[in-house]
């Protein structure tokens, strides 16, 4: 008998039909991966399994968890089933934990709820045992969530999910927002638990590479339906459905020559534009930035030539964003210099403004980078106004939008940010940067918050802009795949220092440093790329 059996599941919200006939099976000891882009209904499926959806959602179809029909259970039986037989690892561990309670108490909560006879001492022993299973020391039970790192919080969430010995775990994007190395550890932990206890897991992610690392079978969702399913190797190697192909293409294999400077795009292939690389444009020398007692950037050197795309890679906390902000003049260095065209960047005044015209920023999350009250026309023309650029700002803004491939621009000028998709918002941010005709773009994780199918388009845009305008870019990313797809050179940063730098082909296929090798080993894709196809 299947641990999880879903047949013809439909979920209707008042405004939309989110899930349209989904069938899923999870057997004991098996991990099923559920992939899809945001809005495809995968999280709705996850929540419907334990009837966690809001009242406004109408659920129909068959859902049986460990032999019990969830759709017809009464409230008491449902509560008994929740957590004791099936549990959830929620998306975003930082928000799912109560910030004012010790994590030990939070792990013990389901244990004591399901069995009120458990004494405090027994509960403590159980918690210590669970923490050991997720490889955390027992004394961490006394920690508050803010005292834990992202990976540790995610481990606490997993310990919590295991607390009542469930037969099925539903993990909804358990590794999103974790950096590659920590992500690899968490995935190994999850698959270890599944194998050891012989339980079933439904793993949900937008990242096919993550799923490919741990799942035996994959199901790909699109617009509320499962469009493709089968053994992982087959689905990844020979994707049949266009949506699956898009997901596979969105996470390029590092070291795969086909994916080099070739982001997945539906338009014409992006030109490499390597011929546009010229002389030195930006130089960072011995840069040091401190925040109180922590040294964020500790003597980093870096240079970007005109028309060159340089990727700055590293784990979270390696200081890469701080370095970028120092290049933009948003944080003042405590030591070292930033030179543009061989001249030191002034710390204030007119000189800094002029520098900020030459060097433009594309921040991490386009949604928060756009003022929700400003129309696209205003957002794009903001820089023009700031620098009092002569000419017709509306026309210049329209031209910048066209340059960022939002065509026709007239359609987007009057729009408010919330009326646009994530990819369109990112293009608006890029257009706002282009409006000032900069020479260098500093893009901080330009695709991290975007859906798989949009990533390739934005990366292709960077390459086309380089070919067309000779625009240099410093791309900050934790994703070596991004570096492989667009960059000419890569700089590896660790704890504020440059560990290794050089041409992408050399550093990412034949790294000289052990740290770079460990980063490469942590990429889920690396394992599947080496799989014979």
């Amino acid at each position: 008998m299947s641990l999880l059996r879903v047949r013809d599941l439909h979920v209707r919200y008042p405004s939309e039909h989110a899930v349209r006939g989904v069938d899923l099976d999870v057997e004991a000891g098996e991990t099923l991966g559920l992939a899809g882009e945001s809005g495809c209904g995968k999280s709705t499926v996850a929540l419907s399994l334990l009837r966690l959806l809001p009242r406004t959602a109408a659920v129909s179809g068959e859902i049986s968890v460990d032999g019990e029909d969830v759709t017809t259970l009464n409230w008491g039986r449902l509560r008994a089933l929740r957590w004791a037989r099936a549990s959830v690892v929620f998306q975003g561990a930082m928000h799912a934990l109560n910030p004012v309670r010790r994590v030990g108490e939070q792990i013990a909560e389901p244990i004591r709820l399901h069995d009120p006879t458990v004494t405090a001492a027994q509960a403590r022993a159980r918690v210590a045992d669970l923490l050991a299973q997720v490889e955390l020391p027992a004394e961490r039970a006394r920690a508050y969530p803010h005292e834990l790192s992202g990976g540790q919080k995610q481990r606490v969430m997993i310990a919590m999910a295991l607390a009542c010995g469930p037969r099925l775990i539903v993990a909804d994007e358990p590794t999103t927002a974790l950096d590659v190395v920590v992500q690899a550890q968490v995935l190994d932990l999850l698959s270890g638990v599944v194998a050891e206890r012989g339980i079933g897991m439904l793993l949900i992610s937008h990242d096919l590479a993550v799923l490919a690392r741990v799942c035996g079978r994959l199901a790909v969702m699109d617009a509320g339906r499962v469009v493709e399913s089968g053994p992982t190797g087959r689905v990844v190697a020979e994707p049949a459905h266009p949506r699956t192909r898009a997901l596979v293409a969105a996470f390029p294999a590092v070291g795969e020559p086909r994916h080099r400077r070739a982001p997945a795009t539906t338009g014409e292939p992006a030109p490499a534009g390597v011929d546009r690389v010229g002389g030195e444009l930006l130089r960072v020398e011995g840069l040091r930035v401190r925040f109180g007692d922590t040294v964020a950037v500790d003597g980093a050197d870096l240079d970007v030539r005109a028309g060159e795309i340089v990727a700055l890679v590293g784990q979270s906390g390696s200081g890469k964003t701080t370095l970028a902000r120092a290049v933009l003049g948003l944080v003042r260095p405590d030591g070292g210099r930033v030179l543009l065209d061989g001249r030191a960047v002034p710390a204030r005044g007119r000189g800094l403004r002029e520098h900020r015209r030459q060097v433009q920023w594309v921040p991490q999350d386009p949604t928060s980078a756009l003022n929700p009250r400003h129309r696209v026309a205003d957002a794009v023309a903001e820089g023009l106004r700031v620098h009092r650029v002569p000419g017709d700002h509306a026309a210049l803004a329209a031209a910048a939008l066209a340059e960022a491939e939002l065509r026709p621009p007239e359609r987007y000028l009057p729009a408010l940010p919330h009326e646009l998709s994530g990819g369109q918002r990112q293009r608006v941010v890029i257009a706002a940067a282009l409006a000032l005709a900069p020479r260098l773009l500093v893009a901080d994780e330009p695709v991290a918050s975007l859906d798989a199918s949009v990533r390739g388009e934005i990366l292709a845009l960077l390459l086309r802009l380089r070919a067309r305008l000779g625009l240099a870019a410093l791309v900050i990313t934790h994703d070596l795949g991004v570096a492989w797809t667009v960059a000419d050179r890569v700089v590896v940063l660790r704890a504020g220092r440059v560990v290794e730098s050089g041409p992408v082909e050399r550093v990412l296929t034949d790294p000289a440093q052990a740290y770079t090798r460990s980063l490469l080993a942590a990429i889920p894709r690396a394992r599947w790329a080496s799989r014979p196809t």
């Binding site: 921040p363 928060s368 929700p372 820089g383 700031v386 941010v429 000032l436």
Partner: protein, 273 residues
């Protein structure tokens, strides 16, 4: 919430219109104790719908004219108080450093001072009149607004789009005018509306305590004369109920209106997420 706001708004508009047109549609002579001829503390009748006061003046007329002072003081004091608060909060948040520290300690000082006592002290020291009352209320009730505006300014200033504006080369003035103020103004508007209610009550309190302008009729002043001239012992409820209900009604209308405005203007409710 929205419907309540509309009703509250209508009530306010009607009261404000009545207050404005009072000099034209009524005869101010009816307020002059030397020129009235009604009965002393007369009960409501066909001639005096709401009865008369101890001098024979119509209570209806007094309440009507009282609205002028109460609303004027309420709005002026609220604008003054929120104005000071917004300025202090904005400067404290944007300047940072010692400027912020000094301004916020000043705010804390005014916050812990019992504002009624301070207002009483101010209106005793200063010349008597409507302006003094406005000043007394405005100068004592701004700290709340300052704290609120500072918090909202800090929140807006921490948004990535503000940082992006800096990266585009924008200076402090650009950021304040284009991003911070538009983000703070809705809060200020709502706060002003709610402050009007508080100011009307404060005005009534001060007038009731005898600190108002003795020559001007206001609802608080009416309650004071009513209690000091024995209207309570005489059972003249018609002298107490109209100004009391007027205060309660207008403050309630202002409050529901402010709450409704809050849901309409609150950036958290408008920003998509």
């Amino acid at each position: 919430m929205r419907r309540g706001g509309v009703v509250g708004g209508l009530v306010l508009v009607v009261v404000a219109l009545l207050a404005v047109v009072a000099p034209w549609v009524t005869d101010p002579a009816g307020l002059d104790v030397t020129r009235v001829d009604g009965p002393r503390l007369g009960a409501p009748s066909g001639e005096y719908w709401l009865g008369t006061d101890e001098n024979g003046r119509s209570v209806l007329l007094l309440t009507w004219w009282g609205a002028r002072v109460s609303l004027l003081v309420g709005v002026a004091a609220a604008v003054l108080s929120v104005g000071i608060g917004t300025l202090v909060g904005l400067v404290a948040a944007m300047a940072g450093g010692w400027v912020s520290a000094v301004l916020m300690r000043l705010t804390d000082f005014f916050l812990v001072l019992p504002s009624l006592v301070l207002a009483i002290a101010l209106s005793t020291v200063l010349e008597r009149g409507v302006g003094t009352i406005v000043l007394a209320i405005g100068l004592t009730s701004w700290p709340g607004a300052a704290r609120l505006v500072r918090a909202q300014t800090l929140a807006v200033a921490a948004r990535p789009y503000v940082e992006r504006a800096h990266a585009l080369g924008g200076g402090t003035v650009h950021v304040v005018v284009r991003h911070v103020l538009p983000g703070v103004v809705p809060l200020v508007v709502v706060n002003t509306t709610l402050a009007v209610g508080t100011a009307i009550v404060a005005e009534s309190t001060l007038a009731f305590l005898g600190l108002g302008d003795p020559t001007a009729v206001s609802w608080g002043a009416m309650l004071r004369t009513a209690s000091s001239t024995g209207a309570v012992t005489a059972g003249a409820w018609w002298y107490l109920v109209p100004p009391g209900l007027a205060i309660a009604g207008v403050v309630l209308a202002v409050t529901v209106c402010g709450r409704a405005l809050e849901t309409v203007l609150d950036p958290r409710l408008r920003e998509p997420r």
